[in-house]
């Protein structure tokens, strides 16, 4: 029903269709002529579209083109390998500053898939865990995703809360309480809930719009991660939060880059 539609959304859609119809960037004048709208109106629309990162301007160019993020919209968010590429430097840096192993995980149905693993930098023999999966309710990565990505993870009630150690959270109420704590302070942790003696902490990686698309975590012996009262040691918490913000920033930057198709070296 045309009568009930919102005009500015219709116009924004027309701008996006127009930009999608060509490989070259379009200027304000061209858009205004093609849509038969006054320039100030078109300017307001493209500026808003730029703010939500659906269109971009190249540095030193006033013209607009579709943002790369828009191409990913229909494919259900962030590619896990793009996420790994964005995270590589900061994951290495986090392992270097904490002396702990670093894991990056994404939701895969009722599991967490480990998409990147940096060894604990102490020269000890370790097995690469990239490609493995973990339960959502028992590891730090999973709890972080449950807490911060509620749309892409199943409700806690739908999870099979299997026991792995004496400390695994196996009832919905206490799991929900854990998640509420995690949301309040910005990261999730677990003390030997998946593997005896081993703990972890994880913070969310956010894509444009603030959606959590992955979890970046550190893992190691419980007494190295946690101090008195089972609290995550403060330097570890600070480094973790810093690294997760930097990775989110790198991801945003990657998504904002103009779609590279057509670009020539």
């Amino acid at each position: 029903m045309p009568g009930s539609s919102i005009q500015s959304i219709e116009r924004a859609a027309a701008v996006l269709r127009l930009l999608a119809s060509t490989e070259r960037p379009l200027g304000l004048a061209e858009l205004s002529v093609a849509l038969d709208l006054p320039r100030p109106t078109v300017h307001g629309i493209v500026r808003t579209l730029r703010d939500v990162e659906f269109v971009v301007q190249e540095p030193g160019d006033s013209r607009y083109r579709l943002a790369k993020a828009l191409h990913g919209l229909g494919r259900g968010g962030v590619d896990p390998h793009d996420l790994r590429a964005a995270a590589m430097n900061w994951a290495d840096s986090l392992a270097g500053s904490t002396g702990l192993a670093v894991l990056l995980g994404v939701v895969d149905g009722h599991r967490v898939q480990v998409v990147h693993h940096v060894f604990r930098p102490d020269g000890s023999a370790q097995r690469l865990r990239t490609g493995e999966d973990q339960p959502l309710h028992a590891g730090a990565l999973g709890k972080c995703l449950l807490a911060f990505a509620p749309v892409s993870t199943p409700p806690t009630r739908a999870l099979e809360l299997l026991r792995f150690t004496g400390r695994t959270c196996t009832d919905v109420e206490s799991l929900d309480a854990h998640l509420a704590t995690a949301r309040r302070r910005g990261w999730a942790d677990e003390l030997a809930e998946l593997e005896p003696g081993v703990g972890g902490a994880a913070a969310p990686i956010r894509a444009s719009g603030g959606t959590a698309v992955g979890a970046l975590g550190v893992t190691g012996p419980v007494d190295e991660l946690f101090g008195v009262g089972g609290k995550l040691r403060r330097p570890h918490a600070e480094q973790l939060v810093l690294a997760s913000r930097e990775v989110s920033g790198a991801l945003l930057e990657m998504q904002a880059t103009p779609h590279p198709i057509g670009w020539r070296p």
Binding site: K68, H71, G72, D79, P80, H81, D82, R84, A85, A86, M88, N89, W90, D92, S93, A95, G96, S97, H116, H117, V118, F119, P121, D122, G123, Q126, L128, T130, G131, E238, Q239, L242, E246, G249, A250, E253, M254, H259, P260, I261, G262, W263, R264, P265
Partner: protein
């Protein structure tokens, strides 16, 4: 070209804003002057990166086969990124103990010592304009002498023929060179000269690793060869002095006034150092636009009977350490082609996603001989082929074939190294942007049948330049100390069934056969 390595680090990221070094901490600066961009990185004593700043420079393509850079633009970028890196890390110039440089090798520039201006754009290592000249050198019977003295087979890849081209084609170049007004350098020479005073007494030096890629240096004496200078008709007056890799060449008069410029290495040799390959037999591979494997061969140059290039690895102090090099032209750039020219993927990293949609290559192989085959086969007339196509093949199989091409090319170079050295490679240290591809790294381990290891921080090139500078001023005392900075961040263990490895290898070899001999010279047609 924008390579994998640069893509992710184009960043504003800067680094470590909240983790800045204390004001009393001393740090080393490295400049990585690469093909697509120039970066400045700061490192602490543990070899940890504190900050990075980067600027891309323009690629000039005046005609097919010609690739040029503006050396003045690159110098301008250096003047901007160094202060930017210091700012990111909150570090004052007084905290710097020294500056090291790693550079794209074989890229050639000539400039006027009185004006400080290049006489022409720098001719880059990818440029093939000296093709005819190199063929004539071989036809005139100089090939054997050249290889005997400098270790290199005559090829367009090296700097000497480019210098000759500039002398022949740029007005005033030869007369200026003979009069002592015009200087030659690869990019490290140009930057050291500018940093150390430029027109006001800049130091004109190169390092042994860059000099070993000119086709003008005697690989044994590590001095300019008068025979080769005569063959290429290059006036000796215009050449920089050849220096070791770690030594105070001069002191910055601008950008970082008072800070010594005290390290320089070609980028691939810098990665050998950054990966701490200090013992004979140790090998590293840097995966970028192309891939470069270097094996430490110890204190004597090792000739290759299997298509590798003997080169200087590094020279710290009086004794040089040599290396055997295998150069693969297309690795990351094949993925880039797959993304940009075929539009199969939205980003380089997504090739892994696409490849994982299928369990294997479906019988399809791609040989990326887009500009011929480099090490170890050296077939300039080969061109790319895609074989084994059936209706069954989809995009996922092509993505597998693209990645596997990098694996098999690595295998061929490692086989050549094993044959030349007689001591099999037992593990491969890798760095560069493509190490972010888990599927590829596993495939490399599978086809080599040895573990593949990635160090913490894949910035081996810059780390190597920083190490050279730090060694020169005693920031680090010896190579063993540097070795302890190397930490394993990942290891891929081989897991392929030997029978399958053999049959896939045979298929790859048959695919390569089909790429060879494609370009026909006029006399053949």
């Amino acid at each position: 070209m924008r390579c994998w390595r640069c893509r992710r680090r184009r960043t504003r990221s800067g680094g470590a804003r909240e983790r800045v070094a204390a004001v009393t901490d001393r740090v080393v600066a490295a400049i990585d002057q690469g093909t697509t961009s120039t970066r400045c990185l700061l490192f602490n004593r543990a070899g940890r990166m504190l900050a990075v700043a980067q600027r891309e420079h323009r690629q000039h393509y005046p005609a097919p086969g010609l690739v040029e850079h503006d050396a003045a633009e690159i110098w301008h970028n250096v003047q901007r990124i160094v202060p930017a890196a210091l700012r990111h890390a909150g570090i004052a110039p007084e905290q710097l103990v020294g500056l090291g440089i790693a550079n794209q090798r074989e890229t050639t520039v000539i400039w006027n010592r009185h004006t400080g201006k290049p006489l022409a754009r720098a001719i880059t290592w990818q440029d093939t304009r000296t093709d005819g000249m190199v063929n004539r050198l071989v036809a005139d019977g100089h090939g054997e002498v050249i290889t005997e003295i400098c270790g290199l087979p005559p090829a367009t890849y090296f700097a000497g023929p480019r210098l000759r081209w500039l002398l022949d084609h740029v007005p005033g170049a030869r007369a200026g060179a003979e009069a002592g007004d015009v200087l030659f350098g690869t990019m490290e020479s140009w930057l050291i000269w500018q940093l150390s005073g430029g027109v006001h007494g800049g130091v004109h030096v190169t390092d042994v690793t860059n000099a070993s890629r000119t086709m003008l240096m005697d690989l044994t004496t590590l001095e300019w060869s008068s025979t080769l200078l005569k063959i290429l008709d290059v006036p000796e007056r215009m050449l920089p002095a050849i220096r070791p890799n770690a030594e105070v060449y001069g002191v910055c008069t601008t950008v970082l006034p008072g800070v010594p410029v005290c390290g320089a290495l070609g980028d691939q040799q810098a990665a050998l150092v950054g990966q701490a390959c200090f013992a004979p037999g140790e090998v590293k591979c840097t995966y970028g636009t192309g891939a470069f494997l270097l094996m430490n061969t110890g204190v004597r140059p090792a000739a290759s009977a299997h298509g590798l290039i003997p080169t200087v690895g590094y020279k710290f102090g009086s004794e040089p350490v040599y290396a055997l090099e295998g150069a693969i032209a297309m690795t990351g750039s094949l993925v880039q082609w797959f993304r940009d020219s075929l539009g199969m993927i939205g980003s380089a990293a997504q090739i892994e996603t696409l490849a994982r949609t299928v369990p294997d290559n479906g019988g399809c192989y791609i040989v990326p001989a887009f500009s011929g085959l480099y090490s170890p086969r050296w077939h300039p007339e080969a061109r790319g082929v895609m074989v084994g196509l059936t209706s069954f093949i989809d995009r996922g199989h092509l993505a597998r074939a693209v990645l596997e091409a990098t694996g098999w090319q690595t295998r061929e170079v490692v086989d050549a190294m094993n044959a030349d050295s007689g001591v099999p490679v037992t593990r491969l240290k890798v760095d560069g942007g493509m190490t972010a591809n888990h599927l590829l790294m596993q495939f490399v381990a599978d086809v080599l049948d040895v573990p593949v290891e990635r160090p913490l921080g894949s910035e081996a090139v810059s780390v190597g330049a920083a190490y050279a500078a730090g060694l020169a001023v005693g920031y680090w005392s010896d190579l063993e100390g540097l070795r302890s900075n190397w930490h394993r961040a990942a290891a891929w263990e081989p897991g392929m069934d030997p029978a399958r490895r053999r049959s896939e290898h045979a298929n790859w070899a048959r695919a390569v056969d089909r790429s060879v001999g494609w370009v026909q010279t006029p006399s053949d047609t």
